[in-house]
């Protein structure tokens, strides 16, 4: 494998890791506050549709992004009402949200665009284009550093850089602010937060809302940056891979970055079987690569390689004592 192939591979790794990273951080906020969220997939899908649909109708991708975030927030609110206010089963609510998004996106897409459940292809201002970072063209011919900067670091859409920036931001918010301390506490021991006079319900709604915003950006990235338009079921299990990455990362922001990059690399390798063959000298089945994130998560969950301990109050509705 030559240097340029490696750069190309890492470049597509970054592209594929971005939606996973955003969704993984989304899940991190929610689960750290004690709300399990297996509805990441559905929220991404809804956001992917609404951002593509609104972007294609208005011609402005930023309006599309807002619409995507709005759709994802609406589903988050539903999850919040079901699991916080009515103390329902968070897992079942997540399952319902996934199906709701899968069904509604096709239904609305068919009703609005009549193209068999897809949106028209996005062009020009209705899409996030790659940004050429300053100096990329000038440096492109410099050996070694040139391609690294021009091909790998430069040339992505703004959402990729936003996702990367979200990692230190999440870390700072969770570990260096009062809000973060309370958010983590509410996922471990909500009664203590309640005793301190801080609203458990308020904190959990805040966490679920942040989760909605991040999932919204992740979905918008899928349909307006990674691809040019919405197609049926385009999230294709990414919400579940993000969930797997979250466990792999043991609910920590920096680990989430590495886990999603690793899973992104698997995705990138899936499309380049020739690269694997030249590196390890044997053929690897693409199905095996596709299943690898899930297998690794099961192994991690089983505690054979390090132990992943979820937030203690995760999944349990909080009942105030009377």
């Amino acid at each position: 494998m030559d240097y340029l192939t490696l750069i190309q591979l890492l470049d597509s790794t970054l592209r594929l890791a971005t939606p996973l990273l955003l969704a993984c951080l989304a899940g991190l906020f929610s689960e750290r506050a004690g709300i399990f969220d297996i509805g990441l997939e559905g929220k991404m899908l809804a956001a992917a549709f609404f951002s593509a649909a609104v972007a294609s109708l208005t011609g402005n991708v930023w309006v599309g992004l807002l619409a995507g975030i709005g759709a994802s927030l609406a589903l988050s609110a539903l999850h919040g009402v079901a699991s916080i206010t009515f103390r329902g089963n968070q897992l079942i609510s997540g399952v319902a949200i996934n199906f709701l998004a899968a069904g509604m996106t096709v239904l609305i897409a068919q009703s609005w665009f009549k193209q068999g459940g897809r949106t028209p292809s996005l062009m020009g201002g209705a899409r996030f284009e790659g940004i050429t970072l300053p100096g990329a063209e000038a440096l492109a011919d410099v050996p070694f550093i040139g391609p690294l900067y021009a091909e790998l670091i430069s040339g992505h859409s703004i959402l990729v850089y936003m996702a990367l920036a979200a990692v230190p931001l999440t870390w700072w918010l969770l570990y260096r602010t009062r809000f973060g301390l309370r958010l983590r506490a509410v996922g471990e021991n909500p009664a203590s937060v309640d005793t301190a006079g801080v609203s458990v319900v308020g904190l959990r709604y805040a966490a679920v809302a942040i989760c909605g915003v991040l999932c919204g950006i992740a979905g918008a990235y899928l349909s307006t940056a990674l691809q040019a338009g919405f197609v049926k079921d385009m999230s294709a299990g990414r919400g579940f891979i993000a969930l797997a990455a979250l466990i792999f990362a043991k609910w920590r922001p920096w680990y989430a970055l590495w886990a999603t990059l690793l899973f992104g690399l698997f995705g990138a390798l899936e499309t380049r079987p020739d690269v694997i063959e030249s590196v390890i000298g044997m053929k690897v089945q693409s199905q095996f690569l596709g299943a690898l994130p899930y297998i690794m998560t099961v192994v991690i969950l089983a505690g054979f390689v390090g132990k992943a301990i979820p937030p203690r109050a995760g999944g349990e509705p909080y009942v105030k004592e009377r």
């Binding site: 009402v81 329902g88 399952v95 709701l100 239904l107 596709g290 899930y294």
Partner: protein
């Protein structure tokens, strides 16, 4: 003390949840510019208006009975098995192996053999997450989700690389031999003088599914094991104190659950397609969740809910055929049913409980005044 009388718990709450799901579905149909009343009429006539429609409705219902029972038995042990889809896929693999490599002399023997293989494969696929939950404390919801994806990859691999006949591009097995073809409802009912559509795929698996409903009822409410499963589901600590092993219950409940999900394959793989194709389960494993929730995890409830969902599936297919409403409407209805009967259960229950409590208080006060 139970606040609500039993009939309200068993009938009223699910009915109100279903009504809410129905109203919102109708609003969705209205919002996409179609007539909900006409749509409902078309669904009823398409799914129940002919033996052809009934044949499809019952075919789908058979799938959902198996997967619904699978989710229900796990619910009784307070385990959430989202892996029905993967277990049913593996069941399909078991059926395919049994039908392709064993020269069965008669369909009845083939049915028994295929059912054993289907149950075994499904059970194994559920036993791994169960063991990880019981022994290593891995959350069963996450592991079963992961196992769905792993099952899909495994099935894809075996179909493409091993079971696909030479020269065929289609990732599917060869057709099973004539001897393994199951009798359809047409074959079963015509000796009785009842004319049933020949084209519809409903087959003898329906009777197996009904037997499974009854068998599970016996198991849950009439055996020691069923008692232990229910006790464990109500209170893990109390069950432990009574000498019930959590590891055993988790394993047994999930093995039964996986076997039931796997059994679905005798209907869709052996009874209908008569070969194994990719995505043969078509999401039936997930519909099992909705069916179990609506049926309140009771085998009779599961039976009724499965027929309702069979009707929705066949009706939805007719809608997609004759109107511009896409098939995905059923997915929306399914989501709403899961939402209202599962996640938003308390939203329906809390006001009802208040109502019954107020009535009881009024009655007690009246009796007090009379004395």
């Amino acid at each position: 003390m139970d606040v609500m009388p039993k009939w309200a718990e068993v009938v009223l709450v699910p009915l109100i949840s279903l009504l809410l799901a129905g109203i919102i579905s109708a609003l969705v149909v209205l919002a996409i510019g179609e007539d909900p009343v006409a749509a409902a009429k078309l669904m009823v006539s398409g799914a129940l208006g002919s033996t052809y429609g009934w044949g499809y409705t019952l075919y789908y219902a058979t799938n959902f009975m198996f997967t619904g029972l699978a989710v229900a038995i796990a619910f009784h042990a307070r385990l959430f098995n989202i892996g029905g889809e993967g277990q049913a896929m593996l069941g399909g693999l078991g059926v395919a192996l049994a039908c392709l490599y064993i020269p069965w002399p008669h369909w009845s023997l083939a049915l028994v053999g295929a059912a054993v293989m289907a149950g075994l494969f499904g059970a194994i696929w559920a036993a791994i997450p169960a063991w990880l939950q019981a022994k290593r404390g891995s959350h069963i919801v996450i592991t079963t989700i992961m196992f769905n994806f792993i099952a899909a990859a495994l099935l894809n691999y075996t179909l493409v690389n091993m079971l696909r006949p030479k020269g065929s591009m289609d990732p599917a097995t060869a057709r099973f031999s004539e001897a393994t073809n199951l009798p359809t409802l047409h074959d079963l009912l015509s000796p009785l003088g009842i004319a049933f559509s020949k084209a519809a795929p409903a087959n003898i698996s329906l009777l197996v599914a009904i037997a499974a409903c009854f068998g599970l009822w016996l198991l849950i409410w009439r055996t020691r094991l069923g008692y232990e499963i229910r006790a464990y589901g109500y209170s893990e600590s109390a069950a432990k104190y009574a000498g019930i092993s959590p590891v055993k219950i988790t394993m047994v409940a999930m093995i039964i659950s996986g076997a039931l999900a796997g059994l679905m394959a005798i209907n869709n793989v052996m009874g209908e397609a008569e070969r194994l194709v990719l995505n043969s389960t078509e999401g039936a494993g997930f519909i099992g969740i909705a069916v179990a929730l609506m049926g309140r995890s009771h085998p009779l409830g599961v039976f009724i809910a499965a027929i309702l969902f069979g009707f929705l599936y066949q009706g939805g297919a007719e809608l997609a055929l004759w109107t511009s409403i896409p098939r995905e409407l059923i997915v929306v209805i399914q989501a709403l049913v899961i939402l209202f009967t599962g996640a938003l259960d308390n939203m329906v229950r809390m006001p009802l409980e208040k109502l019954f409590l107020a009535r009881r208080r009024a009655r007690v006060a009246k009796e007090g005044a009379a004395n």
